[in-house]
């Protein structure tokens, strides 16, 4: 299980008296099926993190609602594991104790707890580092601990907020493959927020492209690759086309301006906001 449905979610922040409230999210609809891995990409300020926090129950929607398997989300809970860009590990706890935290909160019996921790240490390749503290680990290892900690209480949904955003390019690639391998071992639904278009395509089955001011879903793009991903995917022509298409969507406004100035050649007359007048339909199949 772990079906996420986001239904007309709006979030606005009051700015001050006589000033229009800031609309971070404007009528966002999303649907993620059980076991699916779906990404949200968008420029900074498009409200993608706010949306993820609403799904996680850390923030509340101004209007609209989020349901997990039909239940309305009213607050955070261990059924929705979260991983943040800044790791957010407990700095005084060892790797083992960090992973154990959620299990202790859920009152798992000791033997089962140890079993689960050992399993996760094995999956994440951290068995040798079980007693290390977070400050003694590299960035990639810390993020693996954070993922293991979130997965420990067996959540229905895993919410990842720019999880690899502060890692270097090589580590990032390795962590993306790690995430795919972990996913094969659990059947949690994964919702990933990122600003890295390649990462979104490489990892997910579908990509929601969001725009800013107000934050809204611009486009929903299906990724035409199977569940097995690898370096081949990155060199696939469809991958590159899809990446260009999404990049164009994200930077649509500036692209359109370039077009007005006559800089853009033929075949690029994309109206990103409406998402309609397209000359070359590339990459994925469109949903709306």
């Amino acid at each position: 299980m772990g079906v996420i449905s986001v239904d007309a979610v709006t979030k606005s922040f009051p700015v001050g008296r006589r000033v229009e409230p800031l609309v971070a999210l404007d009528g966002v609809d999303m649907h993620v099926d059980a076991g699916e891995l779906v990404s949200i990409v968008g420029v900074s300020g498009c409200g993608k993190t706010t949306l993820l926090n609403i799904v996680g129950g850390l923030e509340t929607a101004t209007t609209g609602e989020v349901r997990i398997d039909g239940d309305i989300v009213v607050g955070p809970g261990p059924d929705r594991g979260m991983v943040f860009q800044s790791y957010s590990l407990f700095p005084w706890k060892s790797v083992t104790r960090n992973i154990a935290f959620g299990l202790e909160c859920a009152r798992w019996p000791k033997a089962r707890r140890r079993e689960r921790i050992d399993e996760l240490l094995g999956i994440t390749g951290l068995t040798e580092f079980a007693r290390h503290r977070p400050d003694q680990l590299s960035g990639g290892m810390r993020q693996r601990v954070a993922i293991a900690r979130a997965l420990a209480p067996e959540p229905d949904v895993l919410l990842l907020d720019e999880p690899f955003g502060s890692l270097d390019a090589q580590t990032k690639r390795a962590m993306q493959d790690f995430l795919l391998s972990v996913r094969a071992l659990t059947n949690a639904t994964v919702l990933l927020v990122t600003h890295d278009v390649s990462e979104a395509i490489y990892l997910s089955q579908r990509v929601y492209v969001m725009a800013a001011r107000p934050g809204r879903v611009l486009e929903e793009v299906a990724v035409p690759f199977g569940t097995v991903r690898g370096p081949g995917v990155l060199r696939d022509a469809r991958f590159l086309d899809l990446r260009d298409e999404i990049e164009d969507l994200l930077h649509g406004v500036s692209r359109r301006r370039a077009q007005l100035q006559g800089d853009a050649g033929p075949g690029t007359d994309v109206d990103p906001i409406a998402g309609t007048q397209r000359t070359g339909d590339v990459g994925g199949q469109r949903f709306r």
């Binding site: 996680g56 955070p76 594991g81 005084w92 935290f101 909160c105």
Partner: protein
């Protein structure tokens, strides 16, 4: 291109007064001593380890400099004391202060005073830190607690605690109670506000992560906020301990039968300046030792914390 051999720079290092440090001066004043293959030139300027900005210095040098400073202080004191002439009783030499201290110790007074003062500090400051931790963590964790408590604290802390001494003497008599009360009142507001800042510094995301792992508010308070604040709480205790001693001295100056500050007043009455100095050194030593102990506690119990790696 400079053709200065490396030796010149070492000469600079050994005799900084005779050799010019500026590289261009060196080029013009020091002729190349060998006409054969010119040594490679150098770029940039070498720095001495001791004078480099934020440079690392060896541990031995660090300790040596520290010892030199203390010896300098004692030397200056000795020189000053021996040149006082007829007024010399006003400033004893370090040796005189030391022997006065030994006398005080042998008489048993020092031990009694130390335990009397120490007891007051431990009880008074213990109460103050306990209140500080409880209220501070609450203020730092709940906006409602902050809204309720902070205005009271902000108002009360501007009343100089020492101004309350006569009131405490009137209310609580002249025994231990007013002294302990003064230590508590003189430090508790700082402890509360500083611990509140420490608790507020716990990252929002750490609390959010705990929530998503299924922790309730009490669990987070006990298992996340408190452990994360622990090294900061030790630092607060360390900083405000000096204020506790200040309050103790005020209390003992006014009314006491024993205690370190009481002993200072008594020595003044008998013109035993050497004993007074001995007691001042005892104060300094207690401060130093308790500071080192608290630092050691922090390093031992919170090795993960930023400030714990250097001492």
């Amino acid at each position: 291109m400079s053709i200065v051999p490396d030796d010149d720079h070492e000469a600079v290092a050994v005799e900084p007064t005779t050799a010019p440090t500026d590289q261009q001066d060196t080029t013009s004043s020091a002729p190349p001593d060998t006409a054969t293959a010119p040594a490679p030139g150098t770029r940039g300027r070498r720095h001495q380890a001791l004078t480099r900005l934020r440079g690392d210095i060896p541990r031995s040098v660090q300790l040596g400099l520290g010892a030199l400073g203390v010896l300098g202080l004692l030397g200056g004191w000795t020189v000053l004391a021996t040149t006082m002439g007829s007024e010399s009783f006003l400033l004893p030499t370090p040796a005189e202060a030391w022997s006065a201290g030994l006398d005080l110790y042998r008489s048993g007074d020092l031990t009694a005073d130390l335990s009397a003062s120490g007891q007051r500090i431990v009880i008074g400051y213990g109460i103050s830190i306990s209140i500080g931790v409880v209220l501070g963590v609450l203020i730092g964790s709940f906006r409602s607690a902050a809204a309720f408590v902070e205005p009271q604290v902000a108002l009360l802390r501007y009343i100089p605690a020492t101004a309350l001494t006569p009131l405490f003497l009137l209310w609580l008599g002249i025994d231990e109670a007013p002294k302990i009360a003064l230590i508590v009142v003189g430090t508790v507001f700082y402890n509360v506000l500083m611990v509140a800042d420490v608790a507020r510094a716990v990252p929002r995301e750490l609390i959010n992560a705990s929530y998503t792992l299924g922790a309730g508010r009490l669990t987070i308070l006990r298992r996340v906020l408190l452990p994360h604040s622990w090294p900061g709480i030790i630092d607060v205790a360390r900083v405000n301990l000096a204020a506790a001693w200040l309050m103790l001295v005020v209390a003992e100056l006014l009314a006491a039968q024993e205690g370190l500050a009481f002993r200072v007043v008594r020595a003044q009455r008998f013109r035993q300046v050497d004993t007074m100095f001995a007691l001042l050194i005892v104060f300094a030593a207690i401060g130093l030792v308790s500071d080192l102990l608290l630092r050691a506690l922090r390093n031992r119990t919170a090795p993960w914390s930023e400030g714990s790696r250097w001492v």
